[in-house]
Amino acid sequence: MTLIDEPVAPARELTVLGACPQDCPDTCAMVVTVRDGVAVEVAGSKAQPYTNGGLCVKVDNYLDRVYHPDRILHPMRRVGPKGSGEFERISWDEAVDEVARRFTAIAADHGAEAIMPVSYLGTQGILNGLNVGDPFFNRLGATVAERTYCDAGSCTAYAMTIGDTAGVDPEAMVNSKFILIWAANIMSTNLHLWPYIAEAKKRGAKVVVVDPVRTKTARAASQHIPIRPGTDGALAMAMMHVIINEGLTDDDYVAAHTIGYDELVERVQQYTPEWASQETGIPVETILTLAREYATAQPSVIRIGVAVERHAGGGQTVRALSCLPALVGAWRNPGGGILQLPLWAFPVNWPAFMHPELLPPGTQVVNQYLLGQALTGQLDLRTPLKALMVYNSNPLVVAPDQARMVEGLSRDDLFTVVSEQFMTDTARYADILLPATTQLEQEDIMFSWGHLYVTYNNPSIAPLGEAVPNTELFRRLARAMGFDDDPIFTRTDEQMIAEAFDWSSPAMEGITVDSLKEQGFSRLNLPPSDEYAPHRDGNFRTPSGKTEFVSSAAAGGNFVVPLFRQGSNDHQPGQPVDPLPHYIPPRDNAAADPELAARYPLNLISPKSHAFINSSFANIEIHQRVQKPATLLINPADAEARGITTGSVVRAFNDRGSVELLAKVDASTMAGVTVCHVGHWRSDALGLSTLSQLNPTTFADLGNAPTFSDTLIDVEPVAAQEG
């Protein structure tokens, strides 16, 4: 729009302080400029020190999303076959009545467990995010959805070792002398951390990246160590072997603040650098140098990415990595330790959002990775599923087992409700489709899993069409189901915000809802980053208060943190866990399954995209142009052996399925390792399928984490189509 010279009424322009809602550690403070009720700019807030005025390629173009012509703005009812995307507009009253009527009938005929929510972190605000539907479904007695997409195994392992601690303040990393970035492409998925790493590097820190792919982050580091997918635990155990056997431990720290050291010494003897070299593909000398430098350059810090858990031994990998800082005394100084999820610093009042006490004891639990099996009769369920309600998620793209999921969602006897902003692959299968607001149209309050600031999202524009925030969606459904006899279900957003935190906690001292609304953000009341060393004197959040090399929590068996399962502690996986860290090799590899590896000799890993967040933004044109169509990176040696050239169409396949992708021959990925970034929609894909066709539904060793990176495939050229 251009300015015009004629006198007009002055535009009513205001700036509104917001917060990025996306499933990312950075939770940027945003400033939204609104003119006459229309948002005209979304920018980063210069005032917020950590995110520092920057957004990223995903959210710079947020207005393209908010005002996209494809937004779903009204409730709709399916009129065509399932999956056809043919709908008719209906009123909210009709939609809510139909959902309540069907849920009530299904509960009467089959039991309420025949209904299941399906959701994750399409938005991650405390109000509208992870737990927004939990009270409703807990009261209903629906099947509990276990959502272990992200760090569930890592959280179990981390908690077993050092407890639910914030760990390292990312702003303190400027003080780090050795920064070990493990399975994280910071420049695409944690961008606002990079300037702190760069500053540390400028001050003399060595920055090492462990990753099968030479990412932009790896290229900018001092050293890149390529590693075979799924063998990270071998490297971590071998580092402990070297540190212990070469006397590089911080003996005073170990004596005062750890338990189980003698057992650990014995355990690590089998994990020699020579053995680890065979397993990981990393030269012995590189392993020795890494261990020595990590131990001696203090403070040292390990930044682990979510990808570190995505293989059979993901949990034990994080167990080992969480042991390392105590072994070398890294916790003594600001900028030393391990950075996993500083989320744990936030005193979020989770029970007020999950209300687990409403859950009927013993209610069945289904992990969302198994949804395809659950919907097609291949899971042994007490109560088979007859209805789904999907919100904050697009499971057809982000969950594995796509072919079975399509089969399940196509069932005529399945009643599916989807709340969405766009006609996603999953939304196409809805019976009732409900319009959801974007972050500009809703109020929320945000924790972060990458820094230590609370951020407030003031709504900046009125909801488009008839879209509603998830909080309002569940108020409407609760009223229609007669749950409004309980004040939990009639809480306003304002009342929920008042319950969002334990405001009396020391971390919240000096922070109020009013101050947050006005400033947009506030650093938790913790020591300044240059002084923040929470475990200088131990104080780990474990039963012993120490780093537990021998984990006492392991005695209870494997578990998923209840936060990821609507607060439920029933039907935990429970299998015995060795209390000492150890190495579990990838499930799909030549040693474990030579026959499989002979047929499918290439690893497939599926990192997060640069321009999408999971499947969000994959339908927006500018993001598609930046990300490019779904592409398989393949090492030149592997490409040549198969006659594959850049730009050609290839078929990637294994016993689970087959996907057509564009090939890019690229030496940035190791020989034997292929890479396909996650997020492209099925509807945009060649052959109507994406890489989730190929991914296993099998869990990792701890916390029911996924094993996406534990996937073997082969690749072949696709002959040019005739005609």
Binding site: G44, L55, S188, L191, P195
Partner: protein, 108 residues
């Protein structure tokens, strides 16, 4: 690739963008600055920093600025040492031939 610096930078070379770039990928030529197309992470922080409005997403370039996309690629092809961080490198001290021969700086 990514964000592109265009004509409005020629002979202005304000450098405010370099302060903002989180990955230090904006390199100094003689008459203008250049964003390394392979190092840029598409965050867009430089766009608002530039007082001359010279920076744009490669996908949102004005028609007359389209050529600067190729200019950036060719600049870094010609000066392969310009990588891995602009600050450590310092000024390249030369320009793409098209920029070197540009008649007047900036745009009025």
């Amino acid at each position: 690739m990514a964000y592109v610096i265009t004509e409005a930078c020629i002979d202005a070379a304000d450098k405010a963008c370099r302060e903002e770039c989180p990955v230090d990928c904006i390199y100094e030529g003689d008459r203008m600055l250049y964003i390394h197309p392979d190092e840029c992470v598409d965050c867009g922080k430089c766009v608002t920093a530039c007082p001359n409005g010279a920076i744009s997403s490669e996908y949102k370039l004005a028609a007359e600025d389209e050529r600067f996309r190729d200019i950036a690629v060719e600049f870094f092809d010609a000066f392969p040492d310009a990588n891995g961080g602009a600050e450590d490198l310092g000024p390249v001290g030369a320009d793409h031939p098209t920029v070197a021969a540009w008649e007047t700086g900036g745009r009025t």
